[in-house]
Symmetry: C2
Subunit: 360 residues, 2 copies
């Protein structure tokens, strides 16, 4: 097997998928996985088999890719740009149950106008800002009702994403942001309903809030993505154990700087991505936690720096004779900071069926 390569430990992935599915069911909501994390039809198949209902995508290209592979119920969860409407129309004309989102009057107007011109009633959710993190209209804003009225028959529901949850790392804080995400999205739905309009779907989610919510009362569906693989950022947030990470990068030792204790690997940022998501967290893993070739973490050995096709692994605190312990050609695995970013660096994954303990 050539390196660098992206490995998926399928046992761990299946466990992660089951865990989130059971969680959604116990909270009484549907699960609509965000597939931007893996962009992989086989992983989606495992999620659907476990009980997921439809998928969430971050680009229309992803929507087209998964629709061609048999997925019909697709939510494109990025505010619709008017120039992309012909692409969305083409998908719907082919039979895709594509839902769009918007968070502005201008955006809603563009969708409605384009729909009228082409005799199409798009399904549209209004994006709600539940935490000031990124996009969305505030649940209390007058604009919410104006957009809802404008959308009319196109209005499919409301949707939010508590991006602020990525900055937290205690169960109490995570439960609070999950409740805030739920409550503000439900509040928006209730305001729309109180105005005499229908608001069927109430969609919330992020992996940290999905795994922390105590109740999803009033919510109809949960979205989450990175849980299928998990990563070091999620580990720092506290929603998974290190041994639950399903994605790793297989690499080969291509050199050393013995005096400095450096192990040079062929996994640089082209493999790991430039994501330094753990830099501002309680434990900084550099560009990743280095493991042996079976995925068992090597205590204190981090990928401390990365160039395009070179990575430098070194021990944080101890000085080890790296030439003896990690000779040229040694295979290692690296757990990534951010599975979405690392996964996106590869055109394909290699499914492996071994844990540190169980080699098949």
């Amino acid at each position: 097997m050539d390196t660098p390569a992206a490995l998926i430990d399928t046992l761990k992935m299946q466990r992660n998928i089951q865990r989130m599915q059971l969680r959604a069911e116990s909270l009484g909501v549907h699960l609509r996985p965000h597939v931007k994390t893996h962009k992989c039809a086989d992983v989606v198949a495992a999620q659907i088999a476990a009980g997921a209902r439809g998928i969430t995508v971050s680009t229309l290209k992803e929507a087209e890719y998964f629709f061609e592979r048999g997925i019909h119920d697709i939510l494109y969860a990025v505010a619709m740009a008017p120039h992309k409407l012909p692409q969305a129309l083409a998908l719907r004309r082919q039979g895709c149950a594509l839902t769009l989102i918007t968070d502005s009057l201008t955006g809603a107007q563009a969708i409605v106008d384009f729909g009228r011109q082409h005799g199409e009633t798009f399904a549209v959710m209004i994006e709600i800002d539940c935490d000031g993190h990124r996009c969305g209209v505030k649940p209390q804003s007058p604009e919410l009702l104006v957009i809802a009225q404008l959308l009319g028959a196109s209005l499919a529901g409301v949707l939010t994403h508590a991006g602020e949850s990525y900055g937290l790392d205690t169960p109490g804080a995570l439960q609070a942001i999950a409740e805030q995400e739920r409550a503000r999205c439900v509040e928006a739905a209730e305001r729309i309903r109180a105005a005499g309009l229908s608001c069927e779907q109430v969609s919330v989610g992020s992996t940290p809030t999905a795994l922390s919510a105590l109740s999803l009362h009033g919510v109809t569906e949960l979205r989450a993505g990175v849980y299928a693989f998990f990563d070091l950022v999620m580990h720092n947030i506290g929603v998974c154990r290190a041994d639950e990470l399903a994605l790793s990068v297989l690499t080969t030792v291509i050199g050393h700087q013995a005096e400095k204790g450096w192990v040079i690997t062929d996994a640089g940022w082209m493999a790991m991505s430039r994501d330094r998501g753990t830099q501002s967290q309680k434990r900084d893993f550099g560009y990743g936690q280095v493991c042996d070739e079976y995925g068992e973490p090597i205590d204190g050995l981090l990928l401390s720096s990365a160039n395009q096709e070179h990575g430098v692994a070194q021990f944080e605190h101890s000085h080890v004779d790296v030439v003896t312990h990690f000779p040229l050609g040694t295979r290692l695995r690296i757990l990534p900071n951010h599975a979405c970013a690392t996964g996106a660096q590869f055109g394909s994954y290699i499914a492996v069926l071994h844990d540190a303990d169980v080699q098949v």
Copy 2:
């Protein structure tokens, strides 16, 4: 044109290619461009047309790609991992003049042994450590001569890369590191020759040192990559002007947070990459400098944060009515921190032939 898209301003690129070619010629050396920056056959064709001799690659996959497109003289400038030797052999058997590099006795032994088994004399350069930055053997080390003797007829020369130059930003410091890169690589070559061995090639380079060297006496070839596009990191180092950047990302405004002065774009880190190379430089450009759709920088407007498919642009110091100035659907261009990282996020480029002044 859909967004995000990677645009190459071909006039700027051609000027950049000419500039480096003229520089190599005035210094009396061949230019062997590093194609990891662009990975694009059309760009290589422009470099060859301008006078480049052969190319440098960072993976054997790149070597295969460019060999299939008619490039024969290829230097694979990452220390050879033994398990990749069959792939290198296959390329040479097909007629590719592939040169490998090594910086260890173990690595050299593996190449020589594999070559003997298969009746192939690989061409190999020894990587020299000129600045303690990453890989290579020290020019004064006893190991250098042992590796050279072991390689014997395979020894094609010595090669170095002053990675430390990326941390500098004054002409004096850049001239000094360029001279250090030259002097240490030539020293290594002379030690090998003094031991009675042939050392034909003396290869140095990085874009900052290539553009700063006062003399390349004793050097035979110059390698550089990012100069074809340039980027904000190179601008901060001081080797290009902002209006020389040939690569930009075209994006569309998909929303606003008016109170905060945020312009939401459809270029996030999937488009820009997670590279924050200017973070530690004298001017931090966030995830990129925002320009109008013709590529003219908008003073103080930076891509301040990036999610997977969302970017947030905001003015650094002033508060502007962003909804009025950048309505939904507005096209913008973003200049990247690091052209190699941004370029690698796209499967293709769109060649454009307009400057801020000259629209064609």
